[in-house]
């Protein structure tokens, strides 16, 4: 079985912002050639490192973001290497780059330099603020993108003396890369019809701006401003806490509380199973909820009884959680049809029975080290084409000779 993009040739000149897009291509079968400067791209210096010892072949960051790619070392400030890379681009389906605006044109490797040579080429430029925006800052990090682009305003704690929070894991870069990959796929499908390539300008700042859910559209629709709240949606009006501590000190997100009569009936049964009826003072409101078809959430601000029924449902969730471990509560709630999520640390996902059963953790061979390491697996499961990590991230310049001759 081959990957959906088997046969597609990609030339990648990316560092931290765009290399995730390169991986998305490479893991579904595209042949991705990563151009690195002598000494390697900067992300080879990013930790964590194998056994905490830095080194260009020991960066676990680089390992993760560059699976299945080939590494070609080419000093783009040198004419011969530039010509060789231009040759690769002339024969490629996709170029993807995240260099500062102007850099590719200075090198003579921009879209304008290539489109006549290769009319089928799809050229994806990922920059912090787009190619030609009024205020184009060369200096940025994932943090400053997420602060300036919107996500940080919505994330943090009920206590506003604590700062807004940047969501972890360099998601600002990921979001820009997601748009780069998605739009490249649009261009590939369009090329199947027209036979022509095109240029794609991906703006990382704009990518954050349209990945903020209600923050943007509350302002767009009626000029209201959401406020951050611990562990739940920032809102124009405050909502009740949803992160709850379970009996073992671990936490869950209690998700959507009961809102249909049937939800209340199941909740009452669970409460009775753990012997909690006597200790739960809002019990009568649960019974009212159980007698209704559904709770009309649009009346929650105006009808005190609706608010009380809804509140009792939430409290009941908290009460049961306090009597169980987080895993017991998570699976117990879900088995009863309630949307609850255990708050896993990332590594705990790799040990969870569901993720293991689906084959999410995958083994990747590192012949230099004589064994395999476990990596996160596929974001999507294709029925008839393959997602796979066939090869670990390349050693620096490992494929220079094979690719350039």
């Amino acid at each position: 079985m081959s990957g959906p993009l088997t046969g597609i040739k990609v030339v990648e000149i990316c560092d931290e912002m765009g290399e995730w897009a390169g991986k998305l291509f490479a893991d579904v079968g595209a042949e991705v050639v990563k151009i690195e400067p002598p000494g390697g791209v900067r992300t080879r210096t990013y930790g964590p490192f194998l056994d905490d010892e830095p080194g260009p072949e020991r960066s676990l960051w680089f390992w993760h973001y560059n699976t299945n790619k080939r590494s070609v070392v080419a000093d783009l400030d040198e004419a011969g290497a530039r010509a060789a890379v231009k040759g690769l681009m002339a024969a490629a389906d996709i170029v993807i780059e995240d260099q500062r605006p102007g850099r590719m044109a200075e090198l003579g490797l921009d879209w304008a330099d290539l489109k006549a040579l290769n009319p089928r080429l799809i050229y994806v430029s990922i920059t912090a603020f787009g190619r030609d925006m009024p205020k184009n800052l060369d200096e940025y990090t994932d943090l400053t993108l997420m602060a300036g682009g919107g996500p940080a305003w919505s994330c943090g704690y009920d206590d506003h003396s604590l700062p807004p929070v940047r969501g972890g894991g360099n998601q600002g870069f990921h979001t820009a890369s997601h748009y780069g990959f998605m739009t490249a796929l649009v261009a590939l499908l369009e090329r199947d019809v027209s036979g022509e390539g095109q240029f794609i300008d991906v703006n990382a700042h704009a990518s954050q701006n349209v990945t903020t859910e209600a923050a943007s559209y509350s302002w767009l629709v009626n000029q209201s401003t959401v406020q951050r709240q611990t562990g739940r949606h920032a809102g124009v009006t405050p909502s009740m806490p949803s992160q709850i501590m379970c009996g073992d000190g671990r936490m869950v997100n209690s998700g959507l509380p009961p809102r249909r009569g049937d939800d209340y009936r199941r909740m009452l049964m669970w409460l009775d199973e753990i012997g909690g009826r006597e200790q739960f003072p809002e019990y009568p409101f649960l019974e009212i909820g159980a007698g209704q078809e559904r709770i009309d959430l649009s009346k929650i601000q105006t009808d005190p009884e609706v608010a009380a029924i809804f509140g009792a449902g939430r409290e009941c969730v908290n009460y049961i959680a306090s009597k169980l471990s987080a895993f017991e509560f998570f699976t117990g709630a879900q088995e009863r049809g309630f949307q609850v999520g255990i708050i896993y640390s990332p590594e705990e996902v790799m040990e969870d029975p569901h993720f293991k059963a689906r084959g999410f953790p995958v083994e990747v061979e590192h012949p230099e080290h004589g064994h395999t390491f476990t990596y996160p697996g596929a974001p999507y499961a294709f029925g008839k084409s393959r997602w796979a990590i066939e090869r670990r991230a390349p050693l620096l310049g490992e494929d220079t000779k094979a690719v350039l001759g």
Partner: protein
């Protein structure tokens, strides 16, 4: 002609995790036909009719988020409890490239339109399902929405400050991002079909799409045995990978005003000193990155003492002028109405919704040189395009459509 004008999608998606995917495709011209249940007035999608509303509006057709996520789509109603509606759906599937849904696992099967049945209608159909845990595995019956997906995939835990509970995400990051992966899955399957003639089912589990987004932390565990759950960890306003300091969101002048500052290396730290002229910037404890990391609490306190009486935008401008990465924590108003980069990009297009009128929505952060996106039509009202879709596309006569309406099929 849009880039994807040749693609038709029979779309059961809703909320954001599904609707966001087909919105992206519709913006590039794909004909997305959204199917809703007339019996419960489309309320399976809890966003239909939910705030925000334009001033003076409200109700089923006024939901601002529903509009935002469903621009450029056609909307029809089908009461799939009736045999006639099932016949209409079979006709629509036969003429579609792709069927999309983000119901809980098994819903489409129960209606008699699981993948095996879809294939009987059209051999090369592409079916993309999107739910929190996927359609296969021990948790296949479990239900989710964004915050639950984020909790289980590790994204909630990895967002927060030292010695505080998780802050998580103040919105459904994984509804947005789940939609992005769903759009990718649809297009990858279409590309595969163009090469091979084969359709397929893609089983997308948002929790898996979320879990891959913590890659370096996962490898730190699987390779080095170091969990992210350990004392003092995580602190996502700091930068452990790559190491940077100072690196944080600091309090500025005014109520709830903040500025982000990141010094990537010693050169940035030197420029930080030049920009601020502050005495602590010359403190020998902070000369090296190792020193700044070792004394990060004191360093952050010193930075805050410097920022707290200054305007966030002025601080950011000062650092930007000195080539140190910095940005104010922009409020929605700042970035929607007063940010030249979003307005010049055309990031907030105005669409026309039949009931709501003119409304601005989230555009796309990309531009294509030949076949760019376009958003002009608002989300469909309930059954707004019944006549067009059943009449023009599926070939039913006006009388047949009227009869279907009368019989509660539409």
């Amino acid at each position: 002609m849009g880039a994807l004008s040749h693609i038709r999608i029979c779309d059961f998606t809703g909320q954001l995790a599904g609707a966001g995917a087909t919105k992206f495709l519709a913006a590039f011209g794909a004909q997305v036909i959204r199917i809703e249940d007339p019996v419960n007035e489309g309320h399976w999608d809890i966003l239909r009719g939910m705030p925000p509303y334009k001033e003076g509006q409200g109700g089923l057709e006024a939901g601002g988020s529903f509009n935002n996520h469903n621009v450029e789509k056609l909307g029809i109603t089908l009461n799939l409890r009736t045999p006639k509606a099932k016949e209409v759906l079979r006709k629509l599937v036969a003429g579609s490239d792709c069927v999309t849904e983000n119901f809980a696992a098994g819903v489409l099967d129960r209606w008699g339109f699981g993948y095996e049945e879809l294939k009987k209608i059209r051999e090369d159909i592409i079916y993309v399902s999107n739910c929190g845990f996927g359609h296969v595995g021990p948790y296949e019956k479990y239900k989710t929405w964004g915050p639950v997906v984020q909790a289980v995939s590790g994204l909630t835990f990895s967002s927060g400050l030292k010695d505080q509970p998780p802050a998580g995400w103040g919105y459904s990051y994984m509804d947005h991002t789940g939609a992005y992966y769903m759009a990718m899955a649809i297009m990858l399957a279409l590309y595969h079909r163009n090469r091979t003639g084969e359709g397929q089912w893609v089983d997308l589990a948002c929790t898996e799409a979320g879990a891959v987004l913590n890659g370096p932390a996962l490898l730190d565990y699987t390779v080095n045995g170091r969990p992210l759950r350990r004392p003092g960890s995580p602190d996502s306003n700091r930068s452990q990978f790559p190491q940077m300091a100072p690196h944080g969101i600091y309090q500025a002048k005014g109520e709830d005003r903040w500025v982000s500052i990141a010094c990537r290396d010693d050169a940035d730290w030197e420029r930080f000193g030049t920009a601020t002229g502050a005495a602590f910037a010359r403190d020998s404890r902070y000369t090296t990155l190792a020193g700044r990391i070792a004394n990060e609490d004191e360093l952050d306190a010193a930075v805050t003492a410097w920022t707290i009486d200054k305007d966030a935008k002025e601080i950011a401008s000062l650092f930007q002028a000195n080539r140190v990465p910095s940005a104010p924590v922009q409020l929605p108003e700042d970035r929607v109405d007063h940010d030249p980069n979003t307005s010049a990009w055309g990031l907030w297009p105005t669409v026309h919704h039949t009931h709501m009128g003119a409304v601005r929505v989230d555009g796309l952060p990309v531009h294509m040189s030949r076949t760019d996106w376009e958003m002009t039509r608002g989300a469909p009202m309930l059954g707004e395009h019944n006549e067009y879709v059943l009449g023009e596309i599926l070939g039913y006569s006006g009388a047949e459509i009227a009869q279907m309406k009368a019989e509660g099929v539409l």
